[in-house]
Symmetry: C2
Subunit: 204 residues, 2 copies
């Protein structure tokens, strides 16, 4: 199984990956959209993501496919990624940036906001502070994890031998950077990070 | 001729490109370092750039290679890239981010700062406001352009037929995004942007 755990990649490349690869491929857009549809009461859903995710219209399409009456409002928030990677997730800088990006949502009447980028849940506290408790924040990753869990359960894919799992990370960008940022995301040490060149990936 | 007009690529890939390619390859690190050495009076030079540029030590090495007595202080300012791409180059957000990044330079005694990333000259005004007029800001791109100009002059590479030049841009990332951000950088319209897949680049 391959989980495309990136909203941008899920938005622009999922269909191609599903067609090309001989294993199940799961993205994060469908589970995130499903979660948001369960959460909304007034049918107005906000979407934030990278420029590519928002421009692709992936979430908008998925929401309307399932429920044609849904209204959605979206905004690209590219600085959120850099802020999360810098670890600037609280304080005046992130507050000011978030206020600027989220301004239009405050008048839009949304009651649910999809955090449509892996990095944004790190900024959940400040987003919640600005939009208030009446707006439910949906983390696409959580929804996707539930989907993966269900699929593994169904197909008996879980190893339950009681041993602590061992994680290996293969990355195409800087391993040091991945380790540093990844430990911030996972809140646990990352040991084994191996660099792979994209040209060699076909040999996996 | 190929100009590697990116500080990060110049920092990590220039030597390989010089070895592999059959045409002259010019980076921006050497010209930028030379400019800074001409500008400094007290021999303490600051360097700002992406995380990869700063971590590579490319500028530090080049400065010391030419003048072993130079001292340098460096800081990665990754958010500057997103700010420049968003067009947030003045106002309270960029001011606050710049103050945070440049704080250590204010005590370091630098009299020259290398803007070691293509995007940073767009933030020149706010950087100047924080560091004051006594710190000379060196734009690596300007220095590199002078180098390209001299090489073309020397090798009679200039076409002087009086016609307006026509520019073609080949990009591996989103053409729309390139056009939008590029027009902000160049202050003129960008017409022809063609997308190329990296796999096909060998056919150029």
């Amino acid at each position: 199984m391959i989980v495309v755990a990136c909203n941008t990649a899920s938005s622009v490349a999922l269909e191609m990956l599903e067609n090309e690869l001989p294993v199940p491929v799961l993205g994060v857009v469908k589970p995130g959209a499903m979660s948001a549809l369960k959460a909304t009461r007034n049918g107005i859903i906000g979407i934030i993501g990278t420029s590519a995710t928002v421009a692709s219209g992936s979430y908008q399409r998925e929401l309307v496919r399932i429920n044609p009456n849904i209204k959605s409002v979206s905004a690209a928030c590219p600085l959120f990624v850099s802020l999360a990677e810098e670890g600037w997730v609280s304080g005046p800088v992130v507050k000011m940036v978030a206020e600027k990006y989220l301004d239009e949502f405050q008048k839009s009447g949304i009651d649910t906001l999809i955090l449509g980028c892996t990095h944004y849940p790190l900024l959940r506290a400040v987003i919640n502070e600005i939009l208030g408790d009446k707006v439910v924040l949906v983390d696409s990753a959580e929804a996707a994890v539930r989907g993966v869990f269900e699929l593994l359960e169904r197909e008996n894919g879980f190893k339950r031998d009681g041993k602590k799992p061992h994680h290996k990370f293969y990355v195409s960008d800087s391993p040091d950077r991945f380790r540093k940022v990844g430990e911030r995301f996972l809140s646990e040490p990352i040991d084994e990070v191996l660099k792979v060149a994209l040209e060699d990936v076909s040999s996996f």
